[in-house]
C-alpha cells in the first residue's frame, strides 16, 4: 500500500521512518472544565487523597491479618467423615441454591447452568441490555430493581447457607477442622511438643495392643465402638491413643467428653457396664501405643 501509486492530493504524513500514517485525530479524554466544580491533577493532588483512603484500608487490613491467623486444618483425608464441605464464602450462594428442589436432582442443570448463566450473562452484557441514555439508577427502574432483587437473593442465600452450616455443626456435634487443628497446636505449644498435625501418608499402621485382653472385650460392649469402630480405627482413630493420654486423661474424656464427643459415662452405665469395667477399659486404652513395649 505504501509504495502503490496514489494521487498527489492525498498527503500522507509518516511517523518517523515507519509506514504508519500519523493520526491527526484521536478521541480526546473528557474535558472536565465543562463540569461545575474544581478538577485537579492526578499526581500529586488526587492520588494523595486516594492513598489516604488506601492507608486507612491497609491499617485495618493488617490489623485483621495480625489478629486472625489464616486457618489451616488437618491434612486432607478423603476418608474423614467429620467434615461438612464448605466453599469459600463468596461461593456460598451458589452452593445454597443447589440445595433447593428446583435446582437439584432432575433439575440440577437449572441450578448449575441456567440460573448462574442468566445471572452472570446478564451482568456481563449489561451495557447491551440497558442501552438507554439515562444514567441515574432511579431513572432506569428495570435495571436497578433487577440488580437489587438479585443482591437481596444472593445475600439471603449466603446468610441462610452459613446459618444452616452452623446448625448442622451443632446438630452433629462437630467442630470445624481448622479449629480442632488450632486447638491441637495450642495444646502442643503448652506441652512443649510438636503438634500432631503433620501429613505423614507413609506411616506404618498402628496395631491394636492386647486384643485378647479383658479390656478389649469391654471396649466392644461399650459405646466407644460405635464411632471409634471395633478395630479402633474409626473416626477419630483410637490406635496409639495411649501416646497422647494416660489412664486418667482417658477417664476424664469418658466422663466429660472432648471436642465433638459428648460425655459417655452415663450411657455406658446405662448399657450395663460397671465402674470397675470402665476403669479396666481406660487402663487398656492407655496401653494403646504406636511403639508398645514388648
Amino acid at each position: 500500500m505504501a509504495h502503490g501509486p496514489h494521487s498527489n492530493d492525498e498527503k500522507i504524513v509518516y511517523v518517523g521512518d515507519s509506514r504508519v500514517r500519523k493520526k491527526t485525530h484521536r478521541p480526546d479524554p473528557a474535558d472536565y472544565t465543562a463540569y461545575p466544580g474544581k478538577s485537579e491533577a492526578f499526581i500529586p493532588n488526587f492520588l494523595l487523597k486516594e492513598w489516604m483512603v488506601g492507608a486507612v484500608v491497609l491499617v485495618g487490613f493488617l490489623m485483621l491479618v495480625m489478629s486472625h491467623p489464616a486457618p489451616l486444618g488437618y491434612p486432607a483425608d478423603p476418608t474423614n467423615t467429620a467434615i461438612i464441605p464448605m466453599p469459600d464464602w463468596y461461593f456460598l450462594f451458589m452452593y445454597q441454591l443447589l440445595k433447593y428442589p428446583y435446582a437439584s436432582e432432575d433439575y440440577l442443570v437449572f441450578g448449575t447452568v441456567i440460573v448462574p448463566g442468566i445471572m452472570f450473562g446478564a451482568l456481563l452484557l449489561a451495557p447491551f441490555l440497558d442501552t438507554g441514555k439515562e444514567r441515574r439508577f432511579y431513572k432506569r427502574p428495570m435495571a436497578s430493581s433487577l440488580m437489587l432483587v438479585t443482591l437481596a437473593a444472593v445475600t439471603y442465600l449466603t446468610v441462610y447457607s452459613w446459618v444452616h452450616y452452623q446448625h448442622e455443626l451443632e446438630r452433629q456435634g462437630l467442630v470445624p477442622d481448622h479449629i480442632r487443628a488450632e486447638e491441637e497446636r495450642q495444646r502442643a505449644r503448652e506441652e512443649g511438643r510438636e503438634p500432631d498435625t503433620a501429613n505423614r501418608p507413609n506411616q506404618q499402621p498402628i496395631a491394636i495392643v492386647g486384643e485378647d485382653e479383658e479390656g478389649y472385650e469391654i471396649y466392644t460392649r461399650a459405646t466407644c465402638a460405635t464411632c471409634h469402630m471395633p478395630d479402633l480405627n474409626g473416626n477419630p482413630s483410637l490406635l496409639g491413643i495411649g501416646d497422647k493420654h494416660d489412664k486418667e486423661g482417658i477417664l476424664a474424656i469418658i466422663h466429660e467428653g472432648v471436642g465433638g464427643m459428648p460425655a459417655q459415662y452415663e450411657d455406658n452405665i446405662a448399657k450395663g457396664l460397671t465402674d470397675e469395667e470402665i476403669d479396666t477399659l481406660a487402663e487398656w486404652l492407655a496401653k494403646q501405643s504406636a511403639n508398645p513395649e514388648e
Binding site: I43, P44, N45, L47, L48, W51, M52, G54, A55, L58, V59, L62, A198
Partner: protein
C-alpha cells in the same frame, strides 16, 4: 517520579526574612512520597523478613552420634557409617554419613569426612598403589595424608568431625574445617 517534576516546581520564595519555604506543590509531593512509602512498606517488609528467614537462623550444632567402640580404632584409618537425623524445613530424613576414623601419632582419635575438597567426589584410604597410605580421590587424582593434608589438586585439607570419647565409645559431632594440619 517526583524527581522529574522539578521543572514544574516553582523555586521556593524568599519570604519571612530569607527563610526558605516549601511550595504547596513540594509539600504535596513529599506527603505523597511518604504515603507511598507507608503503603509499600506495610505489606512488603513482612514479606522480605519472611523471605530472608534462613539467613537469620542460628547455625545449628548437630547432636552427638555414637559411632563405634573406641577399641576398634587403630592407627590405620577405617571407614564407619553412621545415621544422623536431619530436619530440612518440613522434610525430616535420616541420611547415612561416612567418616574415616583413626588414631593420630599422639594417640588421639580423629575423624575425617571423605568428601574431596576439590570438587566433592568421595576419597578412599589406600585405594591407589601410586599413593600408598594416603587418601586418594579417583576423579582428578587428588590425594591427602592420613591427617587429611592436601598434597595435590585439592585446595584445602579434608574436613573433620568433632570427636568425643565417652564410656568407651566414639561419638561424632558437627563437621568443621581441618584443625590437624595447617
Amino acid at each position: 517520579m517526583s524527581e522529574h517534576k522539578d521543572h514544574r516546581v516553582q523555586q521556593p520564595t524568599r519570604a519571612n526574612g530569607g527563610k526558605r519555604e516549601m511550595t504547596r506543590r513540594q509539600f504535596l509531593g513529599y506527603t505523597l512520597g511518604g504515603t507511598t512509602a507507608f503503603l509499600a512498606a506495610g505489606p512488603v517488609l513482612p514479606m522480605l523478613r519472611f523471605a530472608v528467614d534462613p539467613l537469620l537462623q542460628p547455625a545449628s550444632d548437630s547432636d552427638w552420634v555414637r559411632v563405634v567402640e573406641e577399641s576398634e580404632i587403630t592407627d590405620e584409618p577405617k571407614s564407619f557409617t553412621f545415621v544422623v537425623k536431619q530436619i530440612d524445613g518440613w522434610y525430616e530424613s535420616e541420611p547415612t554419613l561416612e567418616a574415616w576414623i583413626a588414631r593420630g601419632e599422639d594417640g588421639k582419635i580423629f575423624a575425617l569426612n571423605p568428601t574431596c575438597k576439590h570438587l566433592g567426589c568421595t576419597v578412599n584410604w589406600n585405594s591407589n598403589p601410586r599413593f600408598p597410605n594416603q587418601y586418594y580421590c579417583p576423579c582428578h587424582d587428588a590425594h591427602y595424608t592420613k591427617e587429611g593434608k592436601n598434597l595435590a589438586v585439592s585446595p584445602l585439607p579434608l574436613d573433620q568431625y568433632e570427636v568425643k570419647i565417652e564410656g568407651g565409645f566414639v561419638y561424632l559431632g558437627s563437621l568443621g574445617p581441618n584443625q590437624l594440619v595447617d
